[in-house]
């Protein structure tokens, strides 16, 4: 192998690479290119989320029936405790309170599980990240999508609960779609942020349940914020009601429940929902993309 001195002799590796048009392996693509790559992987993202969803119950005897049975049991437990045992209504008629509560739990769970899945999206899939090429954002997006599908099963139960307590289907129910779409974008942004944080600090998986529970109690899942904070300074209620979790819960409740009118919602609530969704969605995506080339180091 005594090759004659080639014209490339003496070129530095970087110059040699430039001469033959080689690119740096594993470099981060530009933002637009990244979005394009991610779009190219949409089939994988969808298939991966569905696969995860199916895999969850594949060992159970009842199989996919659990997709609906789990939220149904959840709703029953809440009905048992709050409706029958405590007979709570928290300043609302009971036929409003139970659907109010169940909606709150389901909608908040959507955000909560997206966050939790986001934390482990990279750190829990290092094998995948180290074996195959794909825009890493596929993973958190896919997990958020899995939670969305999970929520759609819960919505079946929610519809039953609403009808059971005297709220019948009407045109306003259509508003659930934009409300959940906004929440999905918000959740995806949050999952992207958590995925980057969790890839550096897996300990977050231990910490997040406590933060999420605090957030849940502060967002009025089980009580109406304006009624509960009647005697307190108004700004506290305002801050709590404009927090994204409360905004999305209120939007869905307003759409579904007959006795839950617009007097319970803060002003410009749709604008707030849109604002949160765009802000966190875009910020989360950019924040995640900034570290694209560093995922997988462990």
């Amino acid at each position: 192998m005594s090759a004659p001195p080639s014209p490339d002799e003496g070129l530095s590796p970087a110059d040699l690479a430039a001469k033959y048009g080689l690119s740096v392996s594993g470099a981060r693509p530009g933002l637009v290119e990244y979005v394009r790559q991610l779009w190219g992987r949409r089939h994988f993202i969808l298939a991966f989320s569905q696969a995860k969803l199916t895999a969850q119950y594949s060992q159970a005897k009842l199989g996919q029936l659990w997709q609906v049975a789990t939220p149904l049991l959840n709703a029953l437990v809440y009905y048992l405790i709050f409706g029958l045992i405590l007979n709570a209504s928290r300043g609302m008629p009971k036929e409003v309170y139970i659907p109010f509560l169940v909606t709150g739990v389901f909608v908040f769970t959507f955000t909560q599980s997206s966050v939790m899945a986001g934390v482990r999206a990279i750190s829990g899939n290092l094998g995948l990240v180290r074996a195959l090429h794909f825009p890493r954002a596929s993973l958190p997006v896919s997990f958020a999508l899995q939670q969305l599908q999970q929520l759609l099963f819960s919505m079946i139960v929610l519809v039953l609960v609403a009808i059971g307590f005297g709220s019948y289907p009407s045109l306003s129910w259509i508003l659930v779609v934009p409300a959940l779409a906004l929440q999905f974008v918000f959740n995806t942004g949050l999952a992207l942020i958590m995925a980057r944080l969790g890839s550096k600090t897996p300990d977050l998986a231990q910490l997040m349940p406590f933060i999420m529970r605090t957030w849940m109690y502060a967002s009025g899942v089980m009580f109406s914020i304006p009624i509960m904070l009647r005697d307190k300074p108004a700004w506290i209620a305002d801050v709590l009601m404009y927090n994204p979790a409360a905004v999305y819960m209120d939007l869905v409740r307003f759409a579904l429940i007959d006795g839950y009118g617009s007097e319970n919602l803060p002003a410009h609530v749709w604008l707030a929902g849109l604002g949160w969704s765009v802000l966190i969605g875009v910020a989360g995506f950019v924040y995640f993309w900034k570290a694209e080339e560093r995922y997988g180091r462990g």
């Binding site: 192998m1 090759a3 004659p4 080639s6 490339d8 590796p13 970087a14 040699l16 690479a17 033959y20 048009g21 080689l22 690119s23 740096v24 392996s25 594993g26 470099a27 190219g40 992987r41 089939h43 994988f44 298939a47 991966f48 696969a51 995860k52 199916t54 895999a55 594949s58 060992q59 899939n125 094998g127 995948l128 990240v129 180290r130 074996a131 195959l132 090429h133 794909f134 897996p202 080339e293 560093r294 997988g296 180091r297 462990g298």
Partner: protein
């Protein structure tokens, strides 16, 4: 022909460092972790141990070459391969490549709870194939794996497969795609004798289509059969780089075979 050697992969002084949480100090107890957190100092956070897996490797690979990577266990072969593929970020130094190098393997994307059928689709999508491509090759993949030779196994969850069957399906999925720069990690030829012959054949085909091939294996025979150049790694450093015969002879002398 020797004049126009076109480089496809250039590694320029590549260093790779793994950071391992919770492995420092030897003691894994909670109090030890706490005292590490409290008594932090000296730059690097305590409780994190660094493993310097690849230390300053440089080489240039050219189109049409088949390069073998040898070295004892833990010498950094697989790590170097992942860095070339751009899957592991380098600590310092750069890897330049022509096109997107791919590692042959889809293990991580497959799920034992899903049927073989769905795993073929999922694995294909994970490798970046389109739905149409997968539909086209689906039957080939299943036939190649031979999963259905003993009944309709492809519609059963993968966790019910024997380890040999699982390995066969994984290889069949991974080998379904053509690559510019192809990297093959050891222990590919799994399964029974019949399947081994079939997979070796498929690797040869893939090699023909690929621009450059990297092969990591402990089998000197398959290196001799397939590679014309060998890189010898030891403790993360490039010990030798040259024609197969030369390097293998030195390696065998060193390891006492």
């Amino acid at each position: 022909m020797a004049e126009t050697r076109i480089p496809t992969v250039i590694a320029d002084d590549v260093h790779i460092v793994y950071r391992v949480n919770g492995a420092a100090g030897g003691k894994g107890s909670a109090t030890a972790a706490l005292s590490r957190m409290v008594g932090r100092g000296k730059g690097e956070p305590r409780g994190v141990r660094k493993v310097h897996a690849v230390r300053g490797v440089s080489f240039t690979a050219y189109r049409g070459e088949a390069i073998g990577l040898i070295g004892t266990n833990g010498s950094g072969k697989s790590t170097l391969l992942r860095a070339i593929a751009g899957l592991l970020p380098t600590e310092s130094g750069k890897v330049y490549t022509d096109g997107q190098p791919s590692l042959l393997g889809v293990n991580a994307a497959l799920m034992g709870d899903l049927t073989g059928e769905r795993n073929v689709i999922l694995g294909g999508l994970a490798m970046g194939m389109s739905r149409e491509e997968i539909r086209e090759r689906y039957q080939d993949i299943v036939d190649f794996s031979g999963i259905n030779e003993k009944g309709d196994f492809i519609t059963l969850p993968m966790r019910t497969y024997s380890s040999g069957m699982g390995a066969r399906l994984r290889f069949s999925i991974a080998a379904a795609k053509n690559h510019d720069v192809l990297m093959i990690d050891e222990a590919l030829a799994t399964g029974d004798r019949k399947f081994q012959i079939r997979s070796e054949e498929r690797i040869r085909e893939l090699r023909k289509e690929a621009g450059t091939v990297f092969l990591v294996t402990h089998s000197n025979k398959s290196i001799k059969d397939t590679c014309d150049r060998v890189l010898w790694l030891e403790k993360g450093e490039l010990l030798m780089d040259g024609p197969t015969d030369e390097v293998l002879k030195a390696y065998e002398r060193e390891t006492g075979k």
